[in-house]
């Protein structure tokens, strides 16, 4: 087993020693700082509400939002949810926590698509690059089964995704704290959800926002990993994975009237379609159905990678 940790150590070393990886982290760091600056300059951000004055402050906000709406029709869709939220605080007599690091982390959940992109790039290269560099020969003439080598590579891809995700969370929190301060240790906020206005814990909201997107991340990274080990071509793996990631929803929509549409991977990657108030993409789908479909794809991808990698003759280029 110690040997297996060494293999993972090797794979992570090879990932993190490359400049391209540090470029990825720099991009994430800069994008998060940029988001902080943008949110900070938007004037409707209120960092805190006064202990005694918060009711008046909310009333004032509402009046301002209403007058804005009268002038500009299009603002209605933006402003009326905000008014609804403010009313929820007032009606339930809850003092709003204001904007802070946790809110900022929650709003950055869309950055997970960048994390997905980077994970796909790493997954696409982790087998194919060994062939491109010619290092596969020296890697495989060791007393270690090919299955273990491949497994160490796959697990390293997942670890890369995990570390990158943690980086996004922690860095967002730090930047959020610097720009907006910290709104407490278990802050709550009011959100407009499809099931109506709700008072929710921001931390549990962060976990579910990021968590639902992780499903897609893992499936696409596994797909890239498969293309990488079957075709030994990282560009092909990146290209197909990113294309599918972007086109997935459209593919489902395009075939939605077919009976087999619900078996398409992308009809099942968004598990939040089963949370309360949401409608499943296609009638007759359920959470357990989607999980089964996802597992079948997952196993197929890994089995294809393994089957080809295990049997392949390492010859020429």
């Amino acid at each position: 087993m110690g040997n297996f940790f060494n293999l993972i150590h090797n794979e992570l070393t090879k990932i993190y020693i490359q400049k391209a990886t540090w470029v990825m982290y720099t991009i994430l760091a800069v994008v998060i700082i940029g988001a902080g600056i943008i949110v900070n300059t938007a004037d409707d951000i209120k960092v805190s509400y006064g202990e005694d004055t918060w009711r008046a402050e909310l009333q004032e906000e509402n009046e301002q939002l209403t007058t804005e709406m009268e002038g500009e029709e299009f603002l209605e869709s933006i402003n009326s949810p905000l008014i609804e939220r403010n009313n929820y605080y007032l009606e339930n007599d809850i003092q709003p926590a204001g904007y802070g690091a946790w809110n900022f982390v929650m709003e950055n959940s869309m950055l997970l698509s960048l994390v997905s992109l980077f994970t796909i790039i790493v997954a696409a290269g982790i087998v194919a690059n060994e062939f491109r560099w010619g290092t596969i020969k020296l890697l495989l003439i060791r007393p270690i089964s090919r299955t273990r080598i491949l497994a160490s590579k796959y697990i390293s891809v997942l670890l890369f995704a995990l570390f990158t995700l943690l980086f996004v969370l922690i860095w967002s929190w730090i930047i959020g704290a610097i720009f907006f301060g910290i709104e407490g240790w278990n802050p709550y906020t009011v959100l407009n959800k499809s099931s109506g206005v709700e008072y929710v814990s921001i931390i549990s909201e962060i976990i579910s926002d990021y968590g639902y997107q992780l499903v897609n991340l893992i499936m696409m990274a596994t797909f890239a990993f498969m293309v990488s080990s079957v075709f030994r071509n990282s560009a092909l793996a990146v290209g197909t994975s990113i294309f599918l990631m972007m086109a997935g929803k459209s593919i489902v929509a395009f075939f939605s009237d077919r009976a087999w549409a619900k078996y398409i991977l992308f009809a099942n990657t968004d598990l939040s379609q089963y949370t309360n108030g949401n409608e499943p993409l296609i009638e007759g789908m359920s959470l357990s159905f989607s999980i089964t479909v996802l597992l079948v794809y997952f196993v197929l991808f890994l089995a294809a990678s393994w089957g080809v990698f295990k049997q392949r003759d390492i010859a020429g280029h």
């Binding site: 090797n10 010619g134 020969k137 020296l138 007393p143 390492i314 010859a315």
Partner: protein
């Protein structure tokens, strides 16, 4: 007879519809340097890939210290160190990082052992440099270092002198001999240049078109290396043979009007003077081609591919 380190039993390989290796059988002994030689495309690299576990055998078996590479892969391959064609390493890592990478893949390789192999191949100064900046010769040395890390019983080197300067070739040659003699390692070394490996091999196997043509013992040992095969046209021949025997203790052989014998290069002028002073007529003096080289060209033909 010495113990067998590696044995090939009727090894065959078919790639696509082409039978590239057509049933190779031979054994390599512990402490022996075995030259594996043949023209381009003969199947040397393919055979070596099978020996190192990179390619599956279509038929037959490779046994390393009695362990089958088919049924006992891990145990068999543990005893093998190899470079196959160019020793490609991670260009973005330093020499030391590359070696540490491979060291982590086999239990029991200490930092001291890594330093040891580095000094063996003389790469101490380049260890902190990225491999991407290495010259071909430096990469070749790092490749050898990598192959030696785990003290293998069988060392397989595919064209290891490729890209090395003459001094580098000599060093590696000496080190390989030392490994075989002192550490009892079986070394298989492939080349398409006989002259390059003749000097360090105990036996040479010649492969052509995926078939073993012959296995030859190399008689001359490293110690007698500066002995030259000399060929002379003289008369009378009998007289000359006697003179060489009494003055220089040389046993010359006669073939028609020619004399053949071995001598150190620096002795040749004195030897000619002696013969001339004793009334022998010398028509020509030349170096005779090594017997092995003759055989090699007879067997495979010069510069033929296929």
């Amino acid at each position: 007879m010495a113990e067998t380190a590696m044995e090939l039993i009727n090894v065959k390989k078919t790639i696509g519809s082409k039978e590239v290796i057509k049933g190779l059988s031979f054994a390599i002994h512990k402490g022996e340097v075995f030259g594996f030689i043949g023209p381009n495309g003969a199947g040397k690299t393919t055979t070596i890939r099978m020996m190192a576990g990179l390619m599956k055998l279509s038929d037959g078996d490779v046994r390393i210290l009695e362990k089958s590479i088919k049924s006992d892969y891990k145990e068999a391959i543990r005893e093998v160190g190899a470079i196959v064609e160019n020793p490609e390493m991670y260009p973005f890592m330093t020499g030391l990082q590359n070696l540490s990478h491979y060291a982590r893949m086999i239990p029991g390789i200490t930092k001291e052992r890594i330093q040891e192999v580095i000094s063996v191949v003389g790469l101490e100064k380049a260890m902190k440099e990225k491999v991407g900046k290495y010259s071909l010769g430096m990469r070749q040395r790092l490749g050898i270092a990598q192959a030696l890390l785990h003290n293998p019983s069988v060392l397989i080197l595919d064209e290891p002198t490729n890209g090395l300067d003459p001094a580098g070739i000599r060093e590696i040659r000496m080190y390989i001999r030392k490994l075989a003699t002192e550490k009892n390692v079986a070394v298989i070394i492939s080349s398409h240049l006989l002259s390059e490996i003749e000097l360090m091999c105990d036996r040479i196997g010649v492969i052509k078109n995926g078939e073993l043509v012959t296995v030859q013992q190399v008689n001359e040992r490293a110690g007698q290396k500066n002995l030259k095969q000399v060929q002379m046209e003289v008369s009378p021949v009998n007289q000359a043979i006697k003179l060489l025997k009494t003055h220089y203790h040389i046993d010359a052989v006669q073939t028609e009007a020619f004399l053949r014998f071995q001598s150190k290069k620096e002795n040749i002028p004195a030897l000619i003077q002696t013969l001339a002073a004793n009334g022998i007529s010398i028509y020509q003096v030349g170096a005779a081609k090594g017997s092995l080289e003759d055989k090699f060209f007879d067997l495979i033909g010069e510069n033929t591919i296929g």
